[in-house]
């Protein structure tokens, strides 16, 4: 909300600078997002005190050589009147009318050397230079609002009657020829973010009330006196409320004989500063009162309401017009005054007459009944609505308005009558109407002031302050709460909320008010003295973080991807477990590419890899995150923690030295690099019982995929991505190694500490053994056989060569291992070693492996 300081000053004295004021109210919860300055120091255009002046227009005569120019004579306080050449259309009507001083016309005069915004140069700040205009030397200029940085109006010079300037100037005596313009119209506009619990501040008076309370000043509320000289409204209108809870109060005034004319300058000026475009006096008064007091109100064309009532067959001639507030009926429609036709919903509250809908209560009026150019009689409505219902209606209809903004956050019913009275009186004085005697004040549901029993000890215990009951009372009274000692005899206070607050429910709200008044910056700051709760730790998270660190040590980069995707995107995996669904689908996605929660982590990582592959050869990525698997027995999906790994590209990075070092290993990353990463992870997590077994899966290239199981439980797969899947992600021929593993079983069984064995005392016997086996025999099977034959004495067995080729029989492969025998209790002799070897060879023979001599 835009709050001009000049407007605010009408209700409260402000001693602080604009910046100080902004900081003070920001700290109290009225966040000033920005400050727009006009004319004053810091404004985009500063008005020179000596050269931008208020001038009294004395006469206007024709230019001797130009039909489109006139010469105005103005008094700018220099003793001598000044002549200014101008082409302003709004001076032409005053041509040759002799002495104009009686007209009390004032303009903004700038003198040579002053800066203005030149509309012919894209509003560039431009210094005024004296020059001849068609033979007449001119060293001053009358400015349009736009040239002064005062808005968009460039239809003529700023030309204001003295009395229309008075409310802004702060008194008639302030309007003096030669007054620096900055003293009259210089301003700062605060942009305040109205958060839900300060909805009461969505008006100038609302902000002024806070300022008064925070700075210890007195609030001056606008007068709500109305001069009512017209025939009584009684008998002309009846209100019927079908939904008392949704529309607790409906106030109406009748103002007859209004004239459609522009609102006075001061009102237009304030509306513009507040961000509204002035239209004509009736609409402007309505908006002005909403901005001033916070009570939105609505004006109906009374003539239209009467005509529609008369055309109703059930209308009793001479009887009252009936207005009914009710919920929309099935199929009901209304065109609002912004020209939009709405299909109304059953929970939308309407103002209607027997012929149908007139307006959407609290949100926007209907087009038919709005004020027309010929309207003379106005029915003014100021009502109270239930904020949750208004919010719902606004959201459902996508219809937003200044009135709806306030009503959907809550406007106290007390304000309805005040707002109506203020608007009625302004229509009388500014639009020349006559206000009918009496008013309709239909209260369908009464409200009671909120009373709270407040224990001063509660305030101190929760805030850390040490305030006396009197001090607490004083803080609350500054915000217009009434505070008395409790009648219940306890040492508590009886606090009654003021009649503009709907946000106060209990002692916690009063605690906040006291803290705000003290100032959050003045509250003490302490360390937690409360008992330290039982410490529980989070082993699952710790294991997950250990896994992250391990993968980073292995040279992988962590990625974090969107958890929202589509079934189509994941279908590229060709994995039925994923694509068969079901998915957690959004009913309101912001983009169709992100409309369901993922079931696969690998697909997300492939997206990232594919994006990166465009500029980097080598990819080593992992992500740890959740996938979302809906469950039949719960509205919430199972959130399964997964690990996805992706490797691709050259094994070695390029180094300047490699060119001269032919020994550097080359080649592409392959399955065994991926498996190595997983093996290191399993080792670091101290996991035993891991088993890799060959598997076939549509996501993976046939013959190059493994299933990983831990203690017999499958945790996921790893292998080379199927070339067809890789192609769908935009990868070329080079292999892409991927893994997707369930993290739960991986980490759940990983809490075991490492098994540490003492450094051996006795030497090992090492030898190399090569076995000839069938190509199809998994190496793991051979190692298994050797291990079980070697027992504890077989300390290690490491593959160092795999050979297939000319030197051995077709269909065979040679697996060469370096083995170490060691006893924990003695030095092994040659005979021991020979015996051990014999056992190994025998076991190998048992699965068809023969020792190569």
């Amino acid at each position: 909300m835009r709050v001009p300081i000049s407007w605010l000053r009408e209700y409260v004295d402000i001693d602080l600078s604009v910046d100080q004021l902004a900081e003070r109210i920001t700290n109290a919860g009225l966040e000033v997002g920005s400050i727009e300055r006009i004319g004053v120091a810091g404004a985009p255009l500063e008005w020179d005190r000596d050269r931008v002046l208020l001038a009294h227009v004395l006469a206007v005569r024709p230019h001797p050589d130009a039909d489109r120019l006139v010469i105005a004579t103005v008094d700018h306080g220099a003793g001598q009147p000044k002549e200014v050449v101008t082409g302003a259309p709004n001076l032409f009507p005053h041509l040759e009318r002799g002495d104009l001083s009686e007209l009390d016309l004032w303009a903004a005069l700038i003198l040579e050397g002053a800066t203005y915004l030149d509309p012919h140069k894209d509003l560039q700040p431009t210094k005024l230079k004296g020059r001849k205009l068609r033979g007449v030397y001119n060293d001053a200029m009358l400015c349009s609002p736009v040239e002064l940085g005062l808005g968009e109006d460039h239809d003529g010079v700023l030309l204001v009657r003295g009395d229309e300037l008075t409310p802004i100037a702060g008194g008639r005596s302030e309007i003096v020829a030669g007054r620096p313009l900055v003293d009259l119209l210089g301003d700062a506009v605060l942009e305040i973010d109205i958060i839900p619990n300060i909805a009461r501040c969505a008006s100038m008076v609302g902000v002024a009330r806070e300022v008064a309370a925070l700075t210890g000043k007195v609030l001056r509320t606008p007068s709500t006196q109305v001069v009512q000289e017209g025939p009584s409204i009684e008998g002309k209108l009846v209100i019927e409320t079908r939904e008392p809870e949704l529309n607790p109060r409906f106030v109406a005034f009748l103002i007859e004989g209004v004239e459609q004319r522009p609102a006075p300058f001061w009102m237009q000026h304030r509306l513009r500063l507040a961000g509204q475009r002035p239209l004509h006096v009736v609409v402007d008064v309505s908006n002005y009162v909403m901005l001033e007091i916070g009570q939105p109100n609505h004006t109906f064309d009374w003539g239209f309401l009467q005509r529609r009532a008369e055309s109703d067959p059930g209308y009793d001639p001479g009887g009252p017009v009936r207005l009914i507030t009710r919920l929309a009926e099935p199929g009901e429609q209304l065109t609002t005054l912004d020209g939009t036709r709405h299909e109304l919903l059953p929970n939308n509250i309407l103002v209607t007459d027997p012929a149908g809908a007139l307006s959407i209560g609290g949100v926007m009026g209907g087009e038919e009944s709005e004020i027309q150019d010929h309207t003379t009689d106005v029915l003014l409505e100021a009502a109270a609505w239930k904020f949750t219902n208004i919010r719902q209606t606004q959201r459902q209809l996508g219809l937003h308005s200044e009135a709806g903004f306030r009503f959907s956050r809550g406007v106290h019913p007390e304000l309805a009558l005040l707002g109506a009275r203020r608007a009625a009186e302004l229509l009388r004085t500014l639009a020349g109407g006559t206000v009918a005697a009496g008013c309709i004040d239909h209260v369908a549901q009464a409200w009671a002031p909120v009373e709270i029993e407040l224990d001063p000890a509660y305030v101190n215990e929760r805030s850390g302050l040490d305030l006396s009951p009197e001090q607490i009372a004083a803080h609350l009274e500054r915000l217009e709460f009434s505070v008395e000692p409790s009648t219940s005899g306890r040492s508590t206070l009886r606090v009654v909320a003021p009649p503009h607050r709907i946000d106060v429910e209990g002692p916690h709200d009063l605690l906040e008010e006291v803290c705000r008044m003290v100032g959050y910056e003045n509250l003490p700051s302490t360390v937690l003295a409360s008992h330290l709760p039982p410490q529980r730790g989070n082993p699952a998270l710790e294991a997950e973080e250990a896994a992250r660190d391990c993968l980073v040590r292995s040279g992988l980069h962590e990625v974090i991807t969107y958890r929202l995707t589509t079934a189509e995107s994941e279908a590229r995996l060709r994995d039925e477990e994923v694509s068969v669904g079901p998915y957690v689908e959004l009913s309101n996605p912001s983009t169709l590419e992100r409309s369901a929660l993922r079931r696969s982590l690998l697909a997300s990582v492939l997206d990232v890899a594919s994006n990166n592959a465009r500029f980097t050869d080598r990819l080593a990525l992992f992500e740890i995150g959740a996938v979302f698997l809906p469950r039949p027995d719960s509205p919430l999906p199972e959130e399964v923690a997964r690990l996805a790994v992706l490797l691709r590209g050259p094994r070695q990075g390029a180094h300047w030295q490699d060119g001269t070092d032919p020994g550097a290993a080359a080649g592409e990353l392959d399955y065994f690099d991926l498996k190595g990463v997983i093996e290191i992870l399993l080792r670091d997590l101290h996991l035993d019982g891991a088993e890799f077994s060959a598997t076939e899966h549509p996501t993976y290239r046939p013959g190059r995929a493994a299933e990983l199981s831990i203690s017999g439980r499958t945790v996921g797969r790893l292998g080379e991505l199927h070339p067809v899947v890789a192609r769908d992600w935009g990868f070329d021929e080079r292999p892409c190694l991927v893994a997707e593993l369930d993290l739960g079983p991986l980490l759940g069984s990983a809490s075991r500490a490492p098994v540490v064995t003492p450094i051996p005392v006795y030497p090992a016997v090492r030898e190399d053994l090569a076995f000839l086996v069938d190509e199809s025999l998994p190496a793991a099977a051979l190692v298994e056989a050797l291990r079980s034959a070697g027992g504890v004495l077989l300390e290690s067995i490491e593959l160092f060569d795999l050979y297939q080729g000319d030197k051995i029989a077709p269909g065979k492969k040679s697996l060469a291992y370096r083995v170490a025998y060691r006893s924990p209790s003695k030095t092994l002799s040659d005979r021991d070693a020979t015996r051990l070897r014999g056992r190994l060879v025998e076991a190998a023979a048992g699965i068809g492996a023969t020792l190569r001599e």
């Binding site: 839900p196 040590r553 929660l597 979302f628």
Partner: protein
């Protein structure tokens, strides 16, 4: 000895001089060995001189013997020195041939990186961990009650406008819009014990994806519930956090704000670390950066969590690691976080 002929004594000096000159000419171990053989070897010059001993008188012998020994020792020492020098020179020659250009780039071990969000989350969790806040994780997909209703945001509450929610096909199930959704879970699990937890996690908002807004982002929520916890404790705890996270010289500012689940509510700002609170583009010339929202847990929320608000009080706070990282590292596009461009990720 007066009897010693000048010739003899001249002999000694001449031999020594000649041998030393020859020694100085030795340039490598082979020449050195030849010299040694020729001079101090079994058939060397000095050895031959000592054979003259037998021809001398009994008086002359000890004198002659002393002189020969002195000569032997002197040449032996000279030899050792020369040998060391030659070895040193040889080593120097060898090493200077192996000189490398130390300004050429090093060969770096292949290391990975953690995602910047993980780094920031960890840094935050570590600081709060030191203060006794334990990590509590809760699901991303929650019912309306956890995300809104039990946090004092009944249907049509205006505060719901502050967050654009993703709804699932089951209209009562939402993607959490804030980690506050985990508060009730933590409270219900731990009450009536006191609580000190932080809840990190992914949150979702229905927004357009732009440089400034994302559909998913991390949050870290903090929650302390116990007896006698005050607003002053909230200020102290968060000020301590800000100083540790942003630097000891940072100032904090608390100002009134609104969250339905806290009362009183506050925003904490820290003095701008780019301009040191003088005013710059980062802080929009205010000198302050908005860092986190916080407040005293609303009595309704305490009650929904199983605590008696008359007896217990608490505070809660929440902040966004990506936003903080953007401020801290001067990033201007939040999309970089889930874009996962390696050229971005590897800079942290």
């Amino acid at each position: 000895m007066s009897e010693t002929s000048p010739e003899t004594s001249l002999d000694f000096e001449a031999v020594q001089n000649r041998a030393e000159v020859a020694l100085a000419r030795c340039e490598d171990p082979e020449q050195l060995e030849s010299w040694y053989y020729a001079t101090l070897g079994r058939k060397g010059e000095v050895q031959l001189m000592s054979r003259q001993l037998g021809q001398l008188s009994a008086e002359e012998r000890p004198i002659f013997g002393k002189r020969v020994n002195a000569l032997k020792q002197a040449l032996q020492v000279a030899y050792e020195q020369r040998r060391e020098e030659i070895e040193r020179q040889a080593l120097e020659r060898r090493l200077s041939a192996g000189a490398i250009d130390v300004t050429l780039p090093g060969r770096r071990p292949r290391t990975g990186t953690l995602h910047p969000s993980t780094l920031v989350l960890r840094a935050m969790c570590r600081i709060f961990g030191d203060m006794g806040f334990q990590i509590y994780r809760s699901p991303d997909v929650v019912t309306d009650e956890y995300n809104f209703e039990w946090l004092n945001m009944p249907p049509e509450h205006p505060a719901r406008d502050m967050q654009d929610t993703f709804y699932t096909r089951d209209e009562n199930v939402v993607l959490r819009t804030h980690t506050s959704a985990g508060q009730i879970l933590a409270m219900r699990e731990y009450h009536p014990e006191p609580i000190r937890v932080v809840l990190p996690g992914m949150c979702y908002r229905n927004e357009q994806i732009t440089a400034r807004s994302e559909i998913q982002f991390h949050q870290i929520e903090g929650l302390a519930v116990g007896e006698g916890i005050t607003f002053a404790d909230l200020k102290g705890t968060l000020t301590e956090f800000a100083r540790r996270f942003f630097g000891a010289e940072r100032q904090t500012r608390f100002r009134a704000s609104y969250f339905p689940f806290t009362e009183p509510s506050a925003e904490m700002d820290v003095s701008c670390f780019q301009c040191d609170a003088k005013g710059c583009r980062l802080c929009k010339y205010s000198g302050w950066l908005e860092i986190l929202g916080c407040g005293m847990v609303h009595p309704v929320v305490l009650r929904n969590g199983g605590y008696d608000p008359e007896r217990f009080s608490g505070f809660a706070f929440g902040t966004g690691p990506e936003r903080i990282a953007m401020l801290k590292y001067g990033l201007d596009d939040i999309r970089a976080f889930w874009g996962n461009d390696l050229r971005f990720l590897t800079q942290f």
